[in-house]
Amino acid sequence: MTTLLLSHQICVRHEMPGSPESPSRLEAIEQALQSEQFSPLQREDCPTALKHHIALAHGGDYIDEIRDLTPESGYFRVDGDTTLCPHSYEAALKAAGGAIRAVDAVMSGEVANAFCAVRPPGHHATKHQAMGFCLFNNAAIAALHARQQHGAERLAVIDFDVHHGNGTQDIFWDQPDMFYGSTHQMPLYPGSGAVSETGAGNIVNTPLQSGADGSKIKEAFNDRLLPALHNFSPDLVVISAGFDAHIDDPLAGLRLTTDDFRWLTLKLAEFSDHHCDGRIVSLLEGGYDLRALGDCVATHVDVLLDAGL
């Protein structure tokens, strides 16, 4: 079996003037996934998510709110970080649609695992609020769709983006069958993610101090996240794959190397292999140094491809 790679041209057309969350991020990834070693990937365009998919994480009216805020021309500013252009709504529906298709393909055994090279990212979008570059919470939608559509009972989201996924935590807060585990720099945007935030016992936050390197995140994985994941025993692992903890990233102060991201991916692939038939759906979140982003995604997808063989 192979790895499914989902993306869509519309995701490149969502643009926020002056923002580091730029269309060139996806172009850098596309470039990085050109080489021969990636020819076994099953490449597809994201389908469009439907209203009931978005409603899984955000309730019924939220999708219409985002649609109504989307301008016909020019821009609409949601917050200091998040701007809608005329293509943003459609791009967000493709990003979430990629997550839905990835779950369908992985849960049905059509592919071993999947990576979605999509934007806007999702993990800051709370039940009712778009923020921090995020409109729809793709990871939460993926996990909740696996439960609703595929009978999966226990779903886990592991988030190694350098920022805390306050949105995913918010959506999973009182749902004991939905696990959220995060490594992130703290203090940093969005301010949440303390160890004491545990929800219904289903949330494990492992904050790291600025300057922390690969050894610290490996410690967090080995000592806290992986044992908790093991206890939780998920039917599918969803990865909120942000690569902004890289040492070259301009938006944060952690010091991970590309090789550290290989290690993180290997550990999650190893875990999934033993506990849920290798089922992984990985979704792009942050990562703002274009070169590091391309390298990290190539490494991440390389491990997923290997794991699927």
């Binding site: 580091p20 970080d81 800051h124 945007y189 969005p190 301010g191 600025s210 944060a252 102060g253």
Partner: protein, 56 residues
Amino acid sequence: MTNDANAPDLKAMSFEQSLSELEEIVSRLEQGDVELERSITIYERGEALRKHCDDL
């Protein structure tokens, strides 16, 4: 709101001034009252203030 570009030069700041700006920064970061894009700049200003306080 702290404007990073116009933030006062650390060398000219007293311990009291540095500490009060640092406290304001820590509380803003904890409340999420900072944009994602500028969060690291403000955090780094906080680190510099912390170091300045330690050195005084």
